[in-house]
């Protein structure tokens, strides 16, 4: 069976000014099998959110294809996408900016139901109450405005809104990074719960590799607009093949202070290179602890480094996290 959503050779550029472009994604191939949960990790500016938005066709790629349920939707205009929209939904990073401050929570949930499902006022309200219950909010929340809710509650509303139209694909764009630490685990657990209950296909965008890998089957690591590693979540975390992934794994502290103190960590030198002028060869080589001459000349292709696990490195697997 074909994957639910897929991008092939995806290139996304943003116009910064006359003749100036930022290439946010540069040749990304990624597939989301039906019912799978894929975590997309990488540092700020790596193109994670851009990939999520392009997959939902909120952005139009400069090159490459976007496929949804076997349909090539790359060139569809908004009018043509509209009937497809209910099947692909987004949970936003910022639960403050993504809810209309002038709209009561109930109406934010009922409007799409009334438009797409043709539900009457009472039916839509009943459905909204169910949705609120699903995400662990009291039914009375429907009458509230977003400013009366906490960050965690707002994100629950955001999830309820995304679930309202019973999508097949859910893209969660750093759904917990704006929340306080205690709330994060709850929201991640909620996403995992609804995903399993509804057999959703999930793209979880995160910069926290440890958190993301807990609730996903597969992990893709994005670096400067390119996938540098992709594989089963457990393998990527335990046996990272790309030195950048190894550094990300190594950056996760161990909760046990004795182990943490004795642990050697891979510390990357310097800032990530500017995506406006990516370095030649392997884009990671200026910061790579194991870079050699070839890395500055030739860009390594993404290839199988271990069974089921792909990495874009000339020396895949040589650097293990301490």
């Amino acid at each position: 069976m074909s994957p639910l959503a897929e991008v092939r050779g995806l290139v996304v550029r943003f116009r910064l000014g006359p003749g100036r472009h930022l290439t946010a994604l540069d040749g990304v191939d990624l597939a989301l099998p039906r019912g799978a949960a894929l975590a997309l990790v990488g540092e700020s500016g790596s193109g994670k959110s851009t990939l999520g938005l392009t997959l939902l066709r909120a952005l139009r790629p400069a090159a490459g294809r976007v496929l949804f349920d076997g349909m090539d939707v790359t060139d569809w205009d908004e009018r043509r996408l509209r009937p497809l929209r209910p099947r692909m939904q987004l949970v936003f990073q910022d639960p403050y900016a993504s809810l209309d401050p002038h709209l009561a929570v109930g109406r934010a949930l009922t409007e799409p139901l009334r438009v797409h499902r043709g539900l009457g006022r009472a039916d839509a309200a009943a459905r909204a109450a169910e949705l609120l219950e699903t995400v662990g909010l009291p039914a009375g929340t429907a009458a509230r405005r977003p400013h009366q809710l906490s960050g965690g509650q707002r994100q629950r509303v955001g999830i309820a809104r995304a679930l309202a139209l019973e999508p097949d694909l859910l893209v969660a764009d750093e759904p917990v990074s704006a929340l306080d630490v205690a709330t994060r685990a709850q929201i991640v657990a909620l996403l995992d719960e609804v995903r399993q209950a509804r057999r959703l296909t999930l793209l979880l965008i995160a910069h926290d590799l440890a958190l993301a890998s807990q609730v996903s089957d597969r992990v893709a690591v994005l670096h400067l607009g390119q996938v540098v590693e992709e594989g089963p979540a457990a393998d990527v975390v335990r046996r990272p093949q790309h030195p950048y992934t190894a550094a990300l794994v190594s950056a996760t502290p161990d909760p046990d202070p004795r182990i943490e103190r004795g642990r050697s960590r891979i510390v990357l030198r310097g800032e990530p290179p500017s995506p406006l002028a990516p370095p030649p060869g392997c884009r990671f080589h200026p910061r790579c602890p194991i870079a050699r001459d070839v890395c500055a000349r030739a860009a390594p292709p993404l290839r199988e480094a271990r069974p089921g696990q792909r990495a874009a490195c000339h020396f895949a697997g040589e650097l293990a996290p301490g």
């Binding site: 909120a58 910022d94 900016a97 809810l99 401050p101 409007e111």
Partner: protein, 288 residues
């Protein structure tokens, strides 16, 4: 030209020291007076505003029960001024609604649809800003004739551009908000997104612009009536009352005071409310 006249009067009339709540309080008081005068109307004066009594012409205030005197035809000045509230406010309100509707529609469309629609509509707005409106208004009324609806429509077509310009500027910001993207990703149509989250975000700005536009239109109506191309002959309009009073400025100055005070009250109130709302909503008042 009308807009410039109104801008000048706004600067002259603006109370410089009032801030925030004070502005709204003063504006609210003015509004209360206006509402009472409009609702009670000429009944408050005890005379019919259209009643001609040549025997009682040009009576000074107080004489014969006419509290503000009578005009050159013996009509009660207070009754006519009070009747003027209904006329002036109705014209300004009707024209504001037309201007707000048309201007908001154009501004929203120009803000939402990138490419040629925005280019065409933006040029249209710029052209309209530069247009000599008093000339157009005079021409249209000369052809279409006087009357309430002619005046309302013409003034509405004068005021749309203020709304369009502000709505365009604001919607270019609002369209980038995440909750607007959220509405689009829910598969809601353009009309639902524009009239939903986008228009909701524009409401404070629209209210402020409407208050200033209303003040401009009051002055515009009075100006046109003063020039004799606004209110039909005999209509108790402040502008025509002022025009008629000119011949008697030295012999019967009371003809001037009441309509002039009414214009000042109405324009000042609208500006106070506009400024007050603009300050309250922090920077939403880009009406000028």
């Amino acid at each position: 030209m009308i807009a410039q006249d109104a801008g000048l009067s706004r600067r002259l009339l603006r109370a410089p020291r009032l801030r925030g709540p004070g502005l709204l309080l003063a504006g609210g008081l003015g509004l209360a007076v206006i509402v009472v005068c409009t609702l009670a109307g000429p009944a408050l004066a005890g005379f019919d505003p259209g009643h001609v009594a040549t025997a009682d012409r040009l009576l000074p205030p107080g004489a014969g029960g006419h509290r503000l005197g009578t005009d050159q035809l013996g009509r009660d000045v207070l009754a006519r001024t009070l009747a003027g509230f209904r006329w002036s406010l109705a014209v300004a309100l009707g024209a504001s609604l037309i201007g707000a509707g048309l201007g908001t529609a154009v501004g929203l469309a120009a803000g939402w649809y990138e490419g040629w629609p925005r280019a065409v509509l933006s040029r249209a707005i710029e052209t309209a800003i530069a247009f000599p409106y008093l000339v157009l208004t005079l021409a249209v009324i000369a052809v279409a004739g006087h009357g309430f609806w002619a005046l309302v429509v013409v003034l509405g077509l004068v005021s749309w551009v203020t709304f369009a310009r502000v709505v365009l500027a604001e919607s270019l910001v609002v369209r980038r908000r995440e909750y607007v993207l959220a509405a689009r990703l829910l598969g809601l149509g353009d009309a639902r997104v524009l009239l939903g989250p986008v228009l909701r975000a524009l409401r404070p700005t629209l209210l402020v612009v409407a208050a200033f536009a209303f003040a401009d239109l009051l002055v515009a109506e009075a100006s046109l009536s003063f020039l004799g191309v606004g209110a039909p002959l005999g209509t108790p309009s402040w502008g025509s009352m002022l025009a008629e009073s000119r011949a008697y400025v030295f012999t019967a100055p009371w003809l001037l005071y009441a309509p002039a005070a009414a214009v000042v009250l109405a324009v000042l109130t609208a500006n106070l409310l506009g400024d007050g709302l603009a300050q309250r909503w922090g920077g939403a008042g880009r009406a000028e």
